[in-house]
C-alpha cells in the first residue's frame, strides 16, 4: 500500500524538479517536411535562405512551399526573429513580398494541425510547428545538427 503513496511522492518530486520545462523553456519549435522528402538536416543559414526565397527548390528539383502559422502569432514572430535575425516587421515584409508567389510561396495556416496537413500533402512543403504537436504524418528536420530538446537547439522557445 505504501508504494502507492510513494509513487505520488515521486510524482511530486518529478514535477517540482522538472516542471520548469513548461514554464521556463516554453516549447521547442520543430521544422517539419513531408516524410517523402529525403532532407534530414540543414543548417540555419540554409533554412534562412528558404525563408528569404533565395533557395527555391529541394535538391531533387521539387519546388519549396513554406507553411507557417499566422504572421502575427507569437510562435511565428519568434521563428522569424531566430531564423532571419532581423526585427519582426522587417522579416514579415520578406514573407509578404508579392514576388514570392513564383519562388517560395508562403502559406499561413490557422493551426499546427493545418500546417501538418499541408506539409503531409505536399512533397515540397516545409513547415514550423510546436514540437509537442508533431505526428507521424511529418518528418522533423535537424537544424545545425540539432533537433528539438537537444542542448543548444536554436528554435528553443521561451
Amino acid at each position: 500500500m505504501g508504494k502507492n503513496a510513494m509513487r505520488n511522492r515521486l510524482w511530486i518530486v518529478c514535477v517540482l524538479v522538472l516542471s520548469v520545462a513548461s514554464v521556463a523553456f516554453g516549447t521547442d519549435y520543430a521544422i517539419v517536411v513531408n516524410p517523402a522528402n529525403p532532407a534530414r538536416a540543414m543548417s540555419l543559414v540554409e533554412l534562412a535562405k528558404i525563408f528569404k526565397a533565395k533557395t527555391t527548390i529541394w535538391p531533387d528539383g521539387k519546388g519549396i512551399t513554406l507553411v507557417l502559422r499566422e504572421p502575427n502569432s507569437p510562435g511565428t514572430k519568434f521563428i522569424l526573429e531566430r531564423v532571419l535575425g532581423g526585427t519582426f516587421d522587417e522579416e514579415k515584409a520578406v514573407l509578404n513580398d508579392p514576388s514570392r508567389k513564383t519562388t517560395v510561396p508562403v502559406v499561413f495556416a490557422e493551426s499546427d494541425d493545418e500546417v501538418m496537413r499541408i506539409v503531409g500533402g505536399n512533397a515540397g512543403a516545409i513547415g514550423v510547428i510546436d514540437v509537442y504537436n508533431i505526428t507521424g504524418g511529418v518528418k522533423v528536420v535537424k537544424i545545425d545538427d540539432k533537433q528539438p530538446f537537444d542542448p543548444g537547439y536554436i528554435l528553443k522557445g521561451r
Binding site: 500500500m1 508504494k3 503513496a5 510524482w11 517540482l16 513548461s22 523553456f25 514540437v131
Partner: protein, 504 residues
C-alpha cells in the same frame, strides 16, 4: 475493506477467464478496434492476463512493484511478447532491466500489430531520451485511440511528470474524464497537474472525487493530504493524512506526511516525534535515510544549527554504510546550504562531489548522478556569489556549462541557467540575471535571487510578485526551508525588497 475485495475479485476473474482473454489477445487488432483500446498481441493466455494485471496494479491502483511483478510474469509466459517487454522496460526503475527489456521489445517487435509497435516505440523512446520520436508516436496513438483510458492517462502522466508539459497533460486528462468522469487514476493525475501548474484551486474538488471513488483505500486520502499541504492548508492536510492512517495504520507515507506538515507548521518537536514513527515504520533503507534527512532539518527550522549538523553527520555515516551515494551527497549539500560560513560550506560541497565521484558505488545511475551533481554545482555558485567569491563562482559555472552542453536533462539545464543568473547578478547585469533565473522557476533559491535582481533593476512590482510565488511554496525541500520563510516575513512587513539570508 470493500475496495480491496473488489480488486481481489478482479485478479481472480482475470486470471481464471484466461481462455476468452487469450483468444482475444491472439486476434488482437480487430478486438482492439472494437473496444477502442490499443491491441495486445501474445500467443500466451497467461501472458495476456498477466499483462492486464500489470496494468491494473501499476496504472489503476498505482501499486508499482506489484505491477512490475505481473509484467515479469507476462514475459516469462511468452518470451516473445514484444509489448510485455516494452512495458516492463518502461515501468521498471532498474536501468539494467530497462535496457534489456527495451532491446527485447525491439527484437520481437514484428510479432506486434502496427499500433502496438507505435506504443513500443513510445515506451522505448521516452526511456532513451528520444523525445521527438516519443511525441510523434504519442500523438498518433492519442488520435487513433481517444477513449483508451489507460493509454491516455499514461501519456498524460509522462507529459506532466517527465516533460513538465502540464497544460498538454491536463488537456489529455480532461478529455479522458469527459468520456469517463469516474476514471479515478486520471482524476488523481489531473489534481496533481493542476496543483503544480498554477491552478491549485481546482485540485481539491478532484481529490473529493478520488476519495469518493475509493473510500476504503488510504492513498486517495494521502494524496488529498499532500495536495492540501502544497496549498498551505495544514489543518486540512493533517485531517486527510489522519484519515489515511485510520484506514490503514501502517500506511507509512501518511505518517511521514503528518510529520512534514508539523515541520512546515513550525511545530518541530511534534514533527520529530512523528518522523521517528515513520522511520521505524519502513524497512526500505533509502526511505529511512530520506526521513532522517527531514528529521535533521527540523533542527535547522528551529534555528539549532549545531544539533542539525550533528544529526546530519549521523545520517551521513548511515547513508555511507548503506552505499546510498546520492543521499550522502544530498546530506552534504544540505549541510552546505545551511552553513553560515562560506568557506566551510564550500568544503561541504567538495565532500558532496567526492561522494558522487566514488566509482566503487555500483548503485549510482548516471542520470541521478548528473542531476545531483548539477544541484551541488548550482549550490556552490550561489554560495560563492553570496560571499562575493567571483573566481570560485565562475570556475564552478564553467563546470555546469560543460554539463549543460551535453545533457538534455531539464534539472541540469535549469541549474546551469540559474547559476549563470547568479553570476550575472554578481556582475551587476540584473536584466541578464533575471532572464536566466526565470529558467529555474520552481527553485526557491533562484526565486529569492530573482526577486533581489528585480529589486536592483527597479522592477518593484515584479519583485513582489516573485516573493509572493516564493512565499506560497509549501514543501519539504531544504531550499524551501531556506528561502520561503524570509520571503513570507518580507511580505508580512510589506517590504518589496527580497529577504536576506538563504544559501549561506
Amino acid at each position: 475493506m470493500k475496495t480491496r475485495n473488489y480488486f481481489s475479485w478482479m485478479v481472480i476473474v482475470i486470471l481464471t477467464c484466461g481462455a476468452a482473454v487469450g483468444a482475444r489477445a491472439q486476434e488482437a487488432a480487430p478486438a482492439a478496434n472494437a473496444t477502442g483500446t490499443i491491441p495486445v498481441t501474445t500467443q500466451s493466455t497467461l501472458a495476456a492476463n498477466a499483462y492486464e494485471m500489470g496494468l491494473v496494479q501499476r496504472e489503476d491502483r498505482l501499486f508499482v512493484d506489484e505491477g512490475l511483478e505481473f509484467f515479469r510474469q507476462a514475459v516469462k509466459a511468452d518470451p516473445q511478447f514484444a509489448l510485455g517487454h516494452a512495458a516492463l522496460g518502461y515501468f521498471t526503475a532498474d536501468p539494467k532491466e530497462a535496457k534489456q527489456e527495451g532491446a527485447l521489445a525491439l527484437k520481437f517487435i514484428d510479432n506486434a500489430s502496427p499500433d502496438e509497435q507505435l506504443l513500443i516505440r513510445w515506451m522505448n523512446s521516452t526511456k532513451n531520451g528520444e523525445t521527438v520520436v516519443a511525441i510523434s508516436a504519442m500523438n498518433d496513438l492519442l488520435a487513433k485511440y481517444p477513449t483508451d483510458k489507460r493509454w491516455g492517462n499514461m501519456a498524460a502522466e509522462w507529459l506532466c511528470a517527465n516533460q513538465g508539459a502540464n497544460e498538454r497533460g491536463e488537456a489529455v486528462l480532461v478529455r479522458l474524464l469527459k468520456n469517463d468522469p469516474r476514471y479515478y487514476p486520471a482524476i488523481n493525475n489531473l489534481a496533481y497537474c493542476y496543483a503544480l501548474s498554477g491552478q491549485a484551486q481546482l485540485a481539491p474538488a478532484l481529490m473529493e472525487q478520488y476519495v469518493a471513488a475509493l473510500p476504503n483505500e488510504p492513498n486517495p486520502q494521502d494524496s488529498y493530504g499532500e495536495i492540501m499541504r502544497m496549498l498551505g492548508d495544514y489543518p486540512a492536510a493533517l485531517e486527510h493524512y489522519q484519515k489515511a492512517l485510520a484506514i490503514n495504520p501502517h500506511f507509512n507515507a501518511s505518517q511521514a506526511g503528518v510529520a512534514s506538515t508539523y515541520a512546515l507548521m513550525g511545530d518541530e518537536r511534534k514533527a520529530r516525534t512523528q518522523y521517528l514513527v515513520a522511520i521505524q515504520g519502513t524497512k526500505e533503507r533509502s526511505t529511512q535515510i530520506g526521513y532522517r534527512i527531514l528529521y535533521a532539518m527540523t533542527y535547522y527550522r528551529e534555528n539549532k544549527p549545531r544539533l542539525a549538523r550533528e544529526e546530519f553527520e549521523k545520517v551521513d555515516a548511515e547513508a555511507h554504510a548503506a552505499g546510498l551515494t546520492v543521499q550522502e551527497a544530498e546530506i552534504h549539500r544540505a549541510m552546505a546550504l545551511f552553513n553560515p560560513d562560506a568557506a566551510s560550506a564550500l568544503k561541504d560541497l567538495d565532500e558532496a562531489r567526492e561522494d558522487l565521484s566514488d566509482t566503487r558505488k555500483s548503485n549510482l545511475l548516471p542520470g541521478d548522478r548528473d542531476n545531483e551533481l548539477a544541484l551541488i554545482l548550482q549550490a556552490r555558485v550561489f554560495i560563492a556569489v553570496n560571499a562575493a567569491k567571483t573566481e570560485a563562482a565562475q570556475a564552478t559555472l564553467k563546470l555546469l556549462e560543460n554539463m549543460a552542453q551535453t545533457s538534455r536533462s531539464t534539472p541540469v539545464q535549469a541549474a546551469f541557467h540559474s547559476a549563470n543568473g547568479a553570476v550575472l547578478y554578481l556582475q551587476g547585469d540584473y536584466a541578464g540575471a533575471i532572464a536566466e533565473l526565470e529558467e529555474d522557476p520552481q527553485n526557491p533559491l533562484s526565486l529569492q535571487l530573482q526577486a533581489a535582481a528585480q529589486t536592483k533593476a527597479g522592477q518593484t512590482a515584479e519583485a513582489r510578485k516573485t516573493l509572493e510565488t516564493l512565499a506560497a511554496i509549501s514543501d519539504e525541500r531544504m531550499e524551501t526551508a531556506l528561502a520561503a520563510p524570509p520571503a513570507r516575513l518580507a511580505l508580512k512587513h510589506d517590504a518589496t525588497r527580497p529577504a536576506q539570508g538563504g544559501a549561506n
